[in-house]
């Protein structure tokens, strides 16, 4: 099974940012796939170190796991299904991560908006 496109785009979003992350801890983002999951994780300690795993990193401070359809929906500019999302750990850190690398983009700017 190939690496979910969402995780590649997520990684690109993290790479693209040139501002210091101002986060501390490890955030893991996963996509359920092929009866298991694929995980991207970023460790923040001034800089960023990212990695890819087939298991959730044991030391993750916060994690978010999406179903395949929600990961596909996100990259296509559609809404996720809330019941398809699992979270755990330090949710405040997770929220800061999502705020840090997310962007408030209006739908017309994304889905077919080019």
């Amino acid at each position: 099974m190939e690496l979910p496109s969402f995780l590649i785009a997520l990684h690109a979003a993290v790479l693209e940012s040139t501002v210091p992350p101002a986060l501390a801890g490890t955030v893991a983002i996963g996509v359920r796939q092929d009866g298991g999951a694929r995980w991207w994780s970023g460790s923040f300690d001034g800089g960023v170190r990212a990695r890819l795993d087939v298991e959730r990193p044991e030391g993750a401070s916060a994690w978010l796991l999406l179903g395949t359809r929600s990961a596909e929906a996100l990259i296509e500019g559609r809404a996720v299904r809330p019941s398809d999302v699992d979270v755990g750990g330090d949710l405040a850190l997770l929220d800061r991560f999502l705020a840090r690398y997310g962007a408030s983009v209006r739908s017309w700017q994304t889905r077919g908006g080019r």
């Binding site: 359920r32 960023v48 990695r51 179903g67 929906a73 996720v80 962007a103």
Partner: protein, 354 residues
């Protein structure tokens, strides 16, 4: 895609893509020289970040082989962040026929939107704690499995188990907010009884490691467990948001495997067939097929096989409501329920890619 053999650790490391960074974590090693050699080989062959990817099976083979020499090799990207890394990501997205710029913008917007989803998990979490608080020990686990594996299977037995052994009596007595004024417990029994009648007409193949019959019986027992909580919360549309975490947490505690839990979740947490056939919703066939194919991919099943399992669940659930049984089903010469609406077979064909 890079090919990795499972047998020879050195071969595994050598074949590890030059476009991946092999990160070696210290572990107790058999031999320092072996470990040093492995690290040297891996480092020599790692230049950039993303490019060639390994399949899940290949990653497992790689991990197993590297463990054999006392180290763990992981795919890693971003250790050295460069413009080339970003370019590799966008190139990979483009290679999948995605507009990388758009995909990136959508992903950022999605990350932002996920903040709202995470914030709402609070209400669900409080209810989840209430429904999954019962302590589970080996004896309780064994009693459940005796119920689930009993032949002939008694629909009332699992509902009674949830009511009396898992503290779910109040939930099972609640009204589900549907047209028919049944309790959750009664509806659940009716669904399992319908399932027992229809089971023989569906050739459902289980993925490896899945204990199919007990899993299906348990899945049906909990398939609406969060519905009363959603009604109480004031939004019946949130039924899946309440049901899924309870199904997942209780199943973990009661000894189901990750794979079984993932499969139960995928089947219960979608309305693709119902929304396609519903006279008011009238969901687009391609959209519904896309969701079901994504779910099949998630659980590692062929799309057509997943559809068969999904349709067994749909028939068992929908036909338990009398008004639906009379309106959307007919009975064929075998005695099996079949759907009158031709969109059902059209959906099957699109999911299976026929």
């Amino acid at each position: 895609m890079s090919k990795v053999g499972a047998a020879d650790p050195a071969a595994v490391l050598k074949s590890f893509s030059s476009h991946l960074i092999a990160q070696l974590e210290s572990r107790p090693v058999k031999d320092d020289a072996e470990r040093a050699a492995a690290i040297a080989v891996a480092k020599a062959r790692t230049e950039s970040t993303v490019g060639v990817l390994l399949s899940a099976a290949e990653v497992k083979a790689l991990v197993a082989a590297s463990t054999a020499i006392g180290v763990t090799v992981r795919q890693d990207f971003g250790t050295r962040v460069t413009d080339a890394d970003f370019a590799a990501c966008t190139a990979l997205l483009e290679s999948r026929a995605l507009d990388a710029t758009l995909a990136l913008a959508n992903t950022k917007a999605g990350l932002s939107a996920l903040r709202g989803v995470v914030a709402k998990q609070g209400a669900v979490k409080a209810k989840l704690d209430e429904l999954t608080a019962v302590p589970v020990d080996d004896a309780l686990r064994a009693r459940l499995w005796r119920v689930l594996e009993a032949e002939p299977f008694d629909a009332r037995a699992t509902v009674a188990f949830v009511m009396h052994e898992l503290g779910g009596a109040d939930v099972m007595r609640e009204w589900m907010g549907t047209k028919e004024s049944t309790s959750l417990g009664t509806h659940t029994e009716q669904v399992i009884e319908r399932y027992a009648k229809e089971r023989a007409f569906h050739d459902v193949k289980a993925p490896p490691g899945v204990r199919l019959e007990p899993m299906l019986r348990w899945m049906l027992t909990l398939h609406d467990i969060g519905k009363p909580a959603a009604v109480e919360h004031g939004d019946r549309n949130m039924q899946h948001a309440f049901t899924t975490p309870v199904l997942v947490e209780l199943s973990k505690k009661l000894g189901f495997s990750e794979r079984e839990i993932g499969l139960m979740r995928a089947v219960v947490d979608n309305d693709a067939i119902g929304e396609t056939l519903h006279w008011n919703v009238n969901r687009d066939l391609d959209d519904a097929a896309k969701e079901l194919r994504a779910l099949a991919k998630e659980v590692g099943m062929a799309p057509g096989e997943f559809f068969e399992l999904q349709s067994l669940f749909f028939v068992s659930d929908a036909a338990s409501y009398r008004f639906l049984l009379e309106r959307i089903f007919t009975t064929d010469e075998r005695g099996a329920l079949t759907l009158k609406n031709e969109k059902f077979e059209q959906l099957r064909a699109r999911v299976a890619g026929e």
